[in-house]
C-alpha cells in the first residue's frame, strides 16, 4: 500500500488517518489552482525569509553607514540604502519577521475570541444572542482603521498595542460567521445525542461545534490577513505602530516619505514587499475558499 492509497482510503482506521487524508485532498485541490499555488509559494517564502533572516540578509538591519547614505539600487545594495546608510534589502528581509508576528498574533487573538462569542451566541440564542450580536453589530458598523487608531492612541504607540488594537477590531466578523455556522448545526441529531448523554453546553460548544466552524474560519482569516497587514503598516506609517529603529515596512515607508521626490526607492521598496505578501494571502485565501467553502464562492 502506497502512502497515497493510505491517505485516500475510503474507510480510515484512525482519526489521524482521516485528518491526514482530508489535509491531503485539500492540498491536491489547491495545487490545481495556479493562483493559490502562487499564493502558497509567497507565504512559504515569507515563512522561510522570517525564519532565516539572519542568514539571508547581507547587512545588519540597524547597522548605520553614513558614508553610504541614500544610494540607489545597485549590485551591492539591491534595494538601495536609506538616510542612515542602512541596506534597505536587509531591512525588508528582517521586516518579514515583524509582519509575520503581527499577522499570527492578530489571528491567534481575534479568531478564537470571535469563534467563542459567535458559538455561544448561536448555541444559547434568546437574550444572550441578542446582547452579544448587538454588541458585535455595533463593532462591525464602525470603521476598523479609525477604531484601531483610537485604541492605539489610548494604549500608547508601539507594536504590541497595535496588535491588540487590530485584534479588537477584527473579531466581530468571525463572531458572525461562527454564529451562522452554529445555527445550522445546533439542532443536528448528533448534538441532541450528546445532550441526551448528559453533555453540558461547554463540552458541546468546544468539542462538537467549534471544530465544525474551523474550515470557514480558516478561509476568512486567510482572506483577512491582507487587511491586517495593511492596517498594521498604516499604523506604522502614521507613527503609532512599530517604533524606529525596528524595520517594520510601514514605518520604513514613513521614513522614506521625506525623500520620495528624489530617492524614490526608500519608500517604494518596502511598499512592494507589503503588496506581494498581501497578494499572497489574497490568492491563497481565494483558493482555500474554493476548496473548503464552495458555497460562498464569489462572495465578499
Amino acid at each position: 500500500m502506497t502512502a497515497r492509497d493510505w491517505l485516500l482510503a475510503d474507510s480510515p482506521t484512525s482519526r489521524w488517518q482521516a485528518n491526514a487524508g482530508r489535509a491531503y485532498r485539500v492540498f491536491t485541490a489547491l495545487l490545481r489552482n495556479p493562483l493559490s499555488v502562487v499564493g502558497g509559494i509567497i507565504i512559504l517564502t515569507l515563512l522561510l525569509t522570517a525564519a532565516f533572516a539572519p542568514w539571508i540578509a547581507p547587512y545588519s538591519p540597524t547597522g548605520q553607514n553614513l558614508g553610504a547614505r541614500l544610494l540607489p539600487p545597485s549590485g551591492e545594495h539591491w534595494m538601495g540604502t536609506d538616510e542612515l546608510g542602512r541596506d534597505i534589502f536587509s531591512r525588508v528581509i528582517w521586516g518579514s519577521q515583524i509582519t509575520l508576528t503581527i499577522v499570527l498574533l492578530v489571528a491567534l487573538i481575534s479568531a478564537p475570541l470571535g469563534l467563542l462569542i459567535g458559538a455561544i451566541s448561536g448555541y444559547f440564542g434568546g437574550w444572550v444572542d441578542r446582547v452579544l450580536m448587538g454588541f458585535t453589530d455595533i463593532f462591525l458598523s464602525l470603521p476598523k482603521l479609525i477604531l484601531a487608531l483610537a485604541f492605539v492612541a489610548a494604549l500608547g504607540p508601539g507594536i504590541n498595542n497595535a496588535i491588540i488594537a487590530i485584534a479588537i477590531t477584527s473579531w466581530p466578523a468571525y463572531a458572525r460567521i461562527a454564529r451562522a455556522e452554529t445555527l445550522t448545526i445546533r439542532n443536528a441529531e448528533y448534538i441532541s445525542a450528546v445532550q441526551l448523554a448528559g453533555g453540558g453546553p461547554i463540552r458541546i460548544i468546544v468539542q462538537h461545534i467549534l471544530p465544525l466552524c474551523t474550515s470557514s474560519m480558516i478561509v476568512r482569516v486567510t482572506l483577512d490577513m491582507a487587511g491586517v497587514i495593511l492596517t498594521a503598516a498604516g499604523l506604522g506609517f502614521i507613527g503609532l505602530g512599530a517604533q524606529p529603529p525596528l524595520p517594520e515596512w510601514g514605518a520604513m515607508i514613513s521614513r522614506g516619505r521625506t525623500f520620495i521626490l528624489d530617492q524614490w526607492w526608500v519608500a517604494t521598496m518596502p511598499g512592494i514587499a507589503i503588496i506581494v505578501v498581501s497578494l499572497g494571502f489574497c490568492f491563497l485565501g481565494d483558493g482555500l475558499r474554493d476548496v473548503l467553502d464552495p458555497k460562498n464562492e464569489g462572495k465578499s
Binding site: 491582507a226 519608500a267 497578494l279 489574497c282
Partner: protein, 357 residues
C-alpha cells in the same frame, strides 16, 4: 435585530390606511431604533477609550507636580468622582449638545475644528467616489460581458490590488511619478501657496467656492491639486465597485430571461445594458454607499500623505500629540458619518428593490 421585529406582522393598528403603510412605519421605526443603538454603542466605545483605558486621566490634565488639593479639585471638576454610568450619561449629553471638549493642540473646541476640517475631506471623498463609479461600473459590466477575456483578467488583478496595495504607498508613488517626474499635477496641499487664502470660504469646498467667486485660475489650480489624491481614493473604490458589478452581472447574465432575449435576437448591447444591468442598479447603490463610507476611512491615510487639511490630517496630528479630545471627537464624527451612510444605503436598497420588501 431588525429581522426579529418584522417576522410577525402585528395586527393592523387603527389610523394606518393600509398594511403596506404600516410596514413602512415599522421598518422606519426599527431603522431609527437600530441607528440610535449603534450611535450609543459608538459613544460607549469612545467613552471607554477616553475614560477607562488611560491609567489616570486627571494626572494627564493637571500634570504630575500638582498638589493633592489641586488634583482633587480637578477630579471633581472633570466629574470623575461620580460613578462610571453617571459619567457616561453626562458624556452622552455633552456629545448630543455638540460639546466634544477642547483640543489641546489648537486650543479651540473640537466641534468647531471638525466643522472647519470636514469640507476638505468631503470634497476629496466625493470626487473619489465619482471617479470610482464612473470607471468601476462600466469596467465591471464589460468584464462580465466578456468573461475570461484579457480585459476580464486585468480587472480581476485590479480588484485584488485594491485589497493589497497600501493607500499611503500608492499616494507617495503617485506623487513621485505625476508630480515630481512628469509635473502633470500640483503637489501636496489644496492650492499653490501663491493662491492660499485668496478665496473667501463659503462652503469650505475650494472647487465650489472658486466657481461661486468666478475665480477660474484658482479653480484650475485646485483641480490640479485634488485630482491625484482623489484618483488614488477612486482607485480603491473602482477596484471594489468593478468586482461587485462583475459578480452581479454574471448572476444576471446566467438567468433565463437573458437567454430568451438573446434568442429573440435582441442586440447584445441592449441585452447587457437594459435586460441585465437594470436589475442590478439597486444592489449597486448599496455597494456604492459602502465604498463611499470606506473612502472616508481611506482618506485618513491619503490626507496624511498629501498634507490635505481634512478630518484625516486633523486626526493623525491629534494622535501624534496625544490630544485625546480631538482624537475621540474625530473618531465620533467619522464613525457617525460611516454608520449613517451604511444604514441609509441599506434602507435605500430595501425601499427601492421590490424583491427585498
Amino acid at each position: 435585530m431588525a429581522i426579529d421585529q418584522q417576522s410577525a406582522p402585528p395586527p393592523l393598528a387603527p389610523g394606518f390606511p393600509s398594511r403596506r403603510m404600516q410596514r413602512v412605519a415599522v421598518d422606519l421605526g426599527s431603522f431609527i431604533v437600530t441607528l440610535c443603538l449603534t450611535f450609543l454603542g459608538l459613544m460607549a466605545i469612545t467613552f471607554f477609550i477616553g475614560r477607562v483605558i488611560p491609567i489616570d486621566p486627571v494626572l494627564s490634565v493637571v500634570g504630575d507636580r500638582a498638589t493633592q488639593a489641586q488634583y482633587d479639585a480637578a477630579k471633581i471638576a472633570m466629574g470623575l468622582d461620580q460613578p462610571l454610568w453617571q459619567q457616561f450619561i453626562s458624556y452622552v449629553g455633552n456629545v448630543l449638545t455638540g460639546d466634544l471638549g477642547r483640543s489641546i493642540s489648537t486650543g479651540r473646541p473640537v466641534a468647531e475644528d471638525l466643522a472647519r476640517f470636514f469640507p476638505a475631506t468631503f470634497e476629496m471623498a466625493t470626487l473619489g467616489i465619482i471617479i470610482g463609479v464612473a470607471l468601476g461600473v462600466p469596467l465591471g459590466v464589460t468584464a462580465a460581458a466578456r468573461q475570461g477575456s484579457w480585459l476580464d483578467q486585468a480587472i480581476r488583478v485590479v480588484g485584488l490590488l485594491g485589497y493589497s496595495v497600501p493607500a499611503f504607498w500608492l499616494g507617495l508613488v503617485g506623487l513621485a511619478i505625476f508630480y515630481a517626474r512628469l509635473q502633470w499635477v500640483g503637489g501636496p496641499g489644496r492650492l499653490d501657496i501663491f493662491y492660499d487664502g485668496l478665496v473667501e470660504p463659503v462652503t469650505g469646498m475650494i472647487l465650489i467656492d472658486a466657481l461661486i467667486r468666478g475665480e477660474t485660475d484658482i479653480f484650475w489650480n485646485a483641480v490640479s491639486h485634488i485630482i491625484l489624491p482623489a484618483s488614488v481614493l477612486g482607485f480603491f473604490s473602482l477596484a471594489y465597485i468593478a468586482r461587485m458589478t462583475r459578480s452581479f452581472m454574471l448572476d444576471q447574465l446566467s438567468q433565463e430571461f437573458v437567454t430568451t432575449a438573446r434568442v429573440k435576437g435582441v442586440p447584445e448591447r441592449i441585452v447587457i445594458w437594459r435586460h441585465a444591468f437594470n436589475p442590478i442598479r439597486v444592489p449597486l447603490i448599496t455597494v456604492i454607499g459602502l465604498s463611499y463610507a470606506g473612502l472616508l476611512e481611506g482618506s485618513v491615510m491619503i490626507e496624511t500623505v498629501f498634507s490635505w487639511p481634512g478630518l484625516g490630517s486633523y486626526l493623525t496630528t491629534a494622535l501624534l500629540n496625544a490630544d485625546m479630545n480631538a482624537v475621540l471627537g474625530a473618531t465620533l464624527v467619522i464613525g457617525a458619518v460611516f454608520i449613517v451612510i451604511n444604514k441609509v444605503s441599506d434602507v435605500l436598497y430595501r425601499v427601492l428593490d421590490p424583491r427585498a420588501r
